[in-house]
């Protein structure tokens, strides 16, 4: 038994490829927990950042700086009455939230957090992610129809039209990036070995970027950049986020497809929306931003730079700890705030401890990939919030126009040009 567990650690592949069910299970649990924590953190960050962008304070009451607000919200949602409309289609109404969560979480089994840090690596990796996340549309349509009410139905129709339209532009951008994996021997830097066939597997795509010494966003400049831009716009539309949040436009449709949902079922939709955002960001990071690779792997080489970059994870957590301690200092000295002050200090101490653990050499070598991958995904998450704080919502005809008349022709053009340039260079 112990041999079975330890044998994987030497195999240097993902658990799925090694056929090791124990470690696959461990990875699934870790990813599930990590995602849940990320969604909770994202909930707090989104409210805080949006508030600061609008010169408000945001949640301040529950815990220091509202740190416990998401937990309070979660408890509120779980003990709320779960309403099923009398005229609703019971079976479909019940299935929709389950399906949306299943699709949102299933895609993460191929997300590569590192060369060996994925549940499994599939031959059809990207295709699998796009396919399973496109099933999320079905769940939204089911939810809107089963509610048997006007606003949800309109929201569902809008969302299906929008997602089907933007999936095409998104697919073309992805194909352009996959095409680049096949051009091993050629390209900007003329390194690597050319095999002529590309790959769809997530891990192999990142390895191709490593071999070609270029993230695909910089490859065939500006073709890679344009493909990335198309994907970055389409992925916001795919996840129904501002400025493309017409399916749940509050001012027109109250809450869109999930108007009739409440309590636990609503929270499932919330969870799925945020994990879908993380999933598409993970695709973008893998395809264009070099996945788990650290910045400047070719310019800043050598042992010193390796050491400097491997210190990043620990230093990040230590910085967060310092921020928490500064917050503790600045807490009002009134006895009413004593518990909060102690809590924030304790939180800072925990963060500092994590930072110190991450600074240990054996840990920091193994954690680096995961840190850089999460860091890039986190940058996308911040972009999502930034968009929401900045852009006004599109009108529906404008949305369709952008999808079909701007992004789609651009996608086709980039695809053709990438192929031509790849053959010529």
């Amino acid at each position: 038994m112990l041999d079975y567990i330890t044998s994987y650690l030497k195999s240097n592949t993902t658990p799925g490829q090694a056929g090791n069910q124990f470690w696959a299970f461990v990875y699934i649990i870790l990813i599930f927990l990590g995602l849940s924590v990320a969604v909770i953190a994202m909930n707090w960050l989104e409210r805080k950042i949006l508030a600061h962008m609008q010169v408000r304070l945001g949640p301040m009451r529950v815990g220091p700086h509202g740190l416990l607000q998401p937990i309070a919200d979660a408890i509120k949602l779980l003990i709320k009455e779960d309403i099923m409309p009398a005229e609703a289609d019971k079976v479909v109404f019940w299935t929709a939230p389950v399906m949306v969560v299943i699709t949102a979480f299933t895609v993460f089994i191929v997300v590569p957090f590192g060369p060996t840090h994925a549940v499994t690596d599939m031959n059809i990796g990207v295709l699998f992610m796009l396919g399973v996340s496109s099933l999320g549309v079905l769940a939204i349509v089911m939810a809107g129809w089963a509610s048997n009410s006007h606003y949800p139905l309109i929201g569902a129709l809008r969302s299906s039209a929008q997602m089907v339209s933007y999936e095409i532009a998104m697919g073309l951008a992805v194909v352009a990036a996959i095409l680049m994996t096949s051009l091993h021997g050629i390209g900007l830097y003329g390194v690597g070995s050319g095999t002529g066939t590309g790959t769809l597997s997530m891990i192999e795509i990142v390895k191709a970027q490593q071999e070609q010494h270029a993230w695909f966003i910089f490859k065939f400049f500006p073709l890679g950049l344009i493909a990335f831009f198309i994907f970055a716009v389409a992925m916001v539309a795919e996840t129904n986020r501002a400025p493309f949040d017409l399916p749940e436009a509050e001012s027109e449709l109250t809450a869109g497809f999930h108007t009739e949902y409440s309590g636990f079922r609503w929270s499932l939709f919330f969870l799925a929306e945020y994990s879908a955002m993380i999933a598409v960001s993970a695709i973008a990071v893998t395809l264009w931003l070099g996945g788990w690779l650290r910045p400047f792997p070719n310019w800043l080489t050598g042992e010193t730079w390796d050491l400097v970059f491997s210190l990043f994870p620990g230093v990040t957590f230590l910085l967060l700890a310092v921020i928490a301690f500064v917050g503790t200092m600045r807490m009002p000295k009134h006895p009413y705030f004593r518990v909060q002050t102690l809590g924030l200090g304790g939180f800072g101490a925990v963060l500092g401890l994590i930072g110190l653990v991450l600074l240990m050499p054996p840990v920091r070598d193994r954690i680096q990939d995961i840190y850089w991958f999460s860091f890039k995904v986190a940058a996308f998450m911040y972009l999502y919030i930034w968009y929401r704080g900045t852009f006004p919502r599109y009108r529906f005809d404008q949305l369709m126009k952008v999808g079909w008349k701007v992004l789609l022709p651009m996608g086709i053009g980039v695809l053709i040009l990438t192929a031509v340039v790849g053959v010529l260079l």
């Binding site: 031959n123 059809i124 295709l127 399973v132 066939t197 769809l200």
Partner: protein, 170 residues
Amino acid sequence: MTPIATPFFFYLLSGLALLGGILVITRKNAVHSALALILTLLALAGLYLMLYAPFVAGVQIILYAGGIMVLFLFVIMLVSIERSQKEEQFNKQWIVGFIAAGVLGVLFVLVYVKGRALLPAPTAQIPNESQNTQNVGVLLYREYMFAFEIASLLLLVAIIGAVVMAKKRI
């Protein structure tokens, strides 16, 4: 890597596909039928995966379950469900139906029995799953390039035809 619990998954997926197929024709509500069809399509994708054809499975999910069925649902939702629920679901031509089904069944059995010798012998060799997509691509774009391009041209004509017919003024 050895396959895990293969017979179990085969019977599970085939059972789901059959169940979905039966639900498609017996449900009165068109939306329920469409959802049952999606269940069938997903089960078929699972069967493709078991046949070591991940690319076909992925395309099955993206195109059928994710694309075509969404458009199906889109149209069905705009149709009044109340009227279709009052309509007669089956026209009662049991005798003709049974005869047709019986003849078809006998035909299938005959083809299986007589044509057994023509089928290639089952091989124990497992195809190389990790190169599946690459092999499909090479075959499509090298050996069968002409047929593939003709098919894509046909589709293009169909798309243009649909646009011409749907638009009054171009």
